[in-house]
Amino acid sequence: MPATQQSMQDDQEKLLDEAVQAVKVQSFQMKRCLDKNKLMDALKHASNTLGELRTSMLSPKSYYELYMAISDELHYLEIYLTDEFAKGRKVADLYELVQYAGNIIPRLYLLITVGVVYVKSFSQSRRDILKDLVEMCRGVQHPLRGLFLRNYLLQCTRNVLPDDGEVTEEGTTGDINDSVDFVLLNFAEMNKLWVRMQHQGHSRDREKREKERQELRILVGTNLVRLSQLEGVNVDKYTQVVLPGILDQAVNCRDSLAQEYLMECIIQVFPDEFHLQTLNSFLRACAELHQNVNVKNIIIALIDRLALFAHREDGPGIPADIKLFDVFSQQVASVIQSRQEMPSEDVVSLQVSLINLAMKCYPDRIDYVDKVLETTLEIFNKMNLEHMATSSAVSKELMRLLKIPVDIYNNILTVLQLQHFHPLFEYFDYESRKIMSSYMLGNTLDNNTVIKAQEQVDAVLKLVSTLIQDQPDQPSEDPDPEDFAEEQNLVGRFIHMLHSEDPDQQYMILNTARKHFGAGGNQRIRFTLPPLVFAAYQLAFRYKESSSVDEKWEKKCQKIFSFAHQTISALIKAELAELPLRLFLQGALAAGEIGFENHETVAYEFMSQAFSLYEDEISDSKAQLSAITLIIGTFERSKCFSEENHEPLRTQCALAASKLLKKADQCRAVGTCAQLFWSGRSSDKNGEEIQDEKRVMECLKKALKIANQCMDSSLQVQLFIEILNRYIYFHEKQNEAVTVQVLNQLIQKVQDDLPNLEACEEAELIKKHFHNTLEHLRVRKESSEADGAAYDGLLL
């Protein structure tokens, strides 16, 4: 096939080349004759030149090139004749003379050329000559040749068409109506020829012909451009004459290619003000177009254009008397009605542009947007669609449709006001609902949209339930863990947007959210419940702040903590341990700090819950160490416990620390416990630190003992250094039991052991640690010399 195509192309080039050569020769002769003032001979050569355009062999592209070459030459003739007329030379009966040409193609080209010269020179004849020319061109019924001939007519007459506001000589005939008639007639004839092209030749070449027709369409469209350039074509003329003329032609030609192009052309060529006045007739015509025409694109193009116009800053906007939205809404409905075969995605994309229109032109009319959604919903109901697949075109369009209000309002609360948003949403399949839900939550977060009311929370969470709870239509396999985490993190972040200024309302919000999230299943709640618990703690703090105005604040706090307790328990049920443990500890801290009536009991409960989790659920040694460290840390910070509660808790901590499996872990945990006996606070002593020197020393000694049992020498040294650091800490805190001797002993021991370490990266780190520790001591010693002998005898 490519070979024949190539040869066809070669043929075309050859034919074109020959024709162009002939044109050159003949037009050269023509110019010579003109130079010698031999007009009749010149016309003969001009006619010969034009004879080349009679060919049927050239493709539209080649024919176009030939046409361009020839029209240049004719231009020369036109200028010559115009000059001759201007000089006053009477060239008698020229208009008739050129008609002697026997062949119609050369004859009509010459007739047009001379005709235009006549119009310029004798403006009294303008009206009749224009009429004659456009009428005579009917003689060429061959589509390609006719199109170019009429294009030539249009080109030549572009400066002589009567128009409003032109400066004319006396006696000039013709007015804007003649121009409109002229161009409309030319347009109609060209369109007919253009449409007829498709019926020529073999049906197997149909595709090629369509391509050729696409190449030629601009010739037809130029007529519309010309109409739009006429000053005299104002809104009235456009409404009454021009548009009906064009539409009549467009509708009646019953050719989808032509219809699509012409409608598009009308939209692009004429100004927005005109479109506004003719919406109904234009859209009505759309409904009458061929079934194959993509009406959607046409209407969308118009809507987009008008929406842009309404939006333009320097423009006058949409006149108040034009109910733009109502008109479009009605007409779009009737278009959809008239086209039963229209694919549902096209129906939706029409709604997309309608909604765009509503958004851009009437930003405050939420009801318009809702109306579009309602219409779409009705259509879907009629179609009996169910859960459309994400990959389907209609689903993509629907997503576009629903994203628009989200994007434009940038406020999910406004979106919630759309009654028909949610029902439409339900037409998506699981995947799409998820994508769309994430999109909406993302939007809420990006815009910091705060959701202030319980009902709103309820509505939003119902809307995005795909992210919150398991769905009947979700796929059986588990989602990609990373994606899932990302999605649920988003939900977690979203929870912080649920915020009411009114604490009571906030409580309701949290309860509602809890209900939704609670049903999310084990996988989800680990992401969703913690933020909820934190929000609850936060709320409790807010109640405390408002304690002066709210008498019942303590009761409410109690309620919140039991809410938190419940929520955390849900996590435990989901076989989670570390997370609830941390949440309990956080709760204990919060309760302690808020200090409402009964807070100690609550804090104790939370601490003990943490302990039992630690004991029952955490088995991994590393996790145990970090858990006990956390517990110890939390407990150390709490000052709400009376000695009665404090004592068992701290003993429990020490016990737990010494029961750890690994020696190193034991050593460290016990070392940490020492802190409890120093800075731990019970309510009995008015919140003062216990500072039990003896118990601290016991802990540290026990840590040393455990470190001694450690077999790994580098680990051992490391532990020694860590313990040394603890000693130094307590020494600085003026724990009398920690003497310089004790420090010296330990330093000595480390110094003895250090050289035995194998040289490795780890050893380097250990040495560095030790070195830094000594450096710290040196600095302390030097700076403290002035104020005491605390460091006397320290051997460095």
Binding site: Y95, N103, I104, D128, G139
Partner: protein, 354 residues
């Protein structure tokens, strides 16, 4: 005798009185060349002078009389011997006698009837000439001078349009209309062609102008057809409902007025042939006779005339559109108006209304 330098001889010269101002027109001669001749009209007086110039002044010149004739005659080429004179007027300028010096004689044929137009055709020639003759005993001296006569007509009183319908059953049905049946020589033919039914692929359409010269009578009739011009009026295939305008001023070329049965010797008639050529190259044609006449004074056409021509075309179109509307309204041709004639391979339905 004059060869030897003795004896007297004379030359004759015919000079028209208003030769300086008299209009001359081109006219084709028998050998196909064009020459300019003085132009006369019917009833116009032909007057002038005959100059007789003696070769040897002073010598006597004897003659049997001098006369001038005005002759209008028809020559049929196949019968060269017989000239049919339809006008023959004689004026004697001098009685037999002697001339001693060159002399000029005035002559005048008042209001000469010149009923026919000068014509040079394929087989026949109609000419007018003046002939001066000096009768001598041995050989007469003659001199002829051709003039050209144009016959003028007044506007025809009745000049209806020509409308015809033509077609091939179930294939093609067209209707065409020429705005007049009688055209003057500088006239414009304006018309329209309507395609009421098109089921064949037409390539183009032309109008041929045919001149038909008929000479002789009875069994010896000769027809000579001459296509004067071919005029393409349509390129490409129209579809049903299309109308194609005809509008052209091509009549001036090589054409004479229609001559019917001139002196029972010959006729010259003109026809318009509408020729349709389809993709297989087959032609379909329909003929209509038109009458040509010569209009009186030929005024330079002004631009308003051009405009008038242009606008005429539209008036024509209005009536034709009506016709189309009727035809589309299910009106078939009435059977009585149809007469079939065999033409080429195809049968044409023909309906002529004058």
């Amino acid at each position: 005798m004059s060869f030897f330098g003795f004896g007297q001889s004379a030359e004759i010269d015919i000079v028209l009185n208003d030769a300086e101002t008299k209009k001359k027109v081109e006219h084709k001669t028998e050998d196909g060349k064009k020459d300019k001749y003085f132009l006369f009209y019917d009833g116009e007086t032909v007057s002038g002078k005959v100059n007789v110039t003696l070769k040897n002044p002073g010598k006597r010149f004897e003659h049997q009389g001098i006369k001038i004739e005005f002759i209008g005659q028809i020559e049929l080429y196949y019968d060269r011997g017989n000239h049919h004179e339809f006008v023959s007027l004689v004026k004697d300028l001098a009685r037999p006698g002697e001339l001693t010096q060159s002399q000029t004689f005035d002559f005048e044929f008042t209001h000469v009837e010149k009923p026919y137009e000068s014509y040079t055709g394929q087989n026949v020639k109609l000419r007018y000439f003046l002939r001066a003759t000096i009768s001598r005993r041995l050989n007469d001296i003659t001199k002829e001078m051709d003039i050209v006569v144009h016959t003028l007509s007044t506007y025809p009183e009745l000049n209806s349009s020509i409308k015809m319908e033509v077609g091939i059953e179930d294939c093609l049905h067209i209707e065409f209309e020429y705005n007049k049946s009688k055209y003057h020589l500088k006239d414009v033919i304006v018309g329209k062609i309507y395609f009421l039914l098109v089921r064949i692929k037409i390539k183009h359409m032309e109008i041929d102008i045919i001149k038909r010269e008929t000479t002789g009578t009875g069994p010896n009739v000769y027809h000579e057809n001459d296509t004067i011009a071919k005029y393409e009026i349509m390129d490409g295939a129209p579809v049903r409902g299309e109308s194609i305008p005809i509008g052209s001023s091509w009549l001036a070329m090589r054409m004479t007025p229609t001559m019917r049965d001139i002196n029972k010797k010959f006729s010259v008639r003109y026809y318009l042939n509408l020729v349709l050529i389809d993709e297989e190259g087959e032609a379909l044609l329909q003929t209509a006779e038109i009458t040509l006449w010569r209009k009186g004074d030929i005024v330079r056409k002004s631009m308003s005339h051009q405009a008038a021509i242009a606008s005429q075309r539209f008036e024509g179109s209005a009536t034709a559109e009506k016709a189309l509307a009727q035809a589309q309204g299910g009106q078939q041709l009435s059977p009585s108006a149809q007469s079939t004639s065999s033409l080429g391979k195809r049968t044409l339905c023909l309906c002529v209304c004058w």
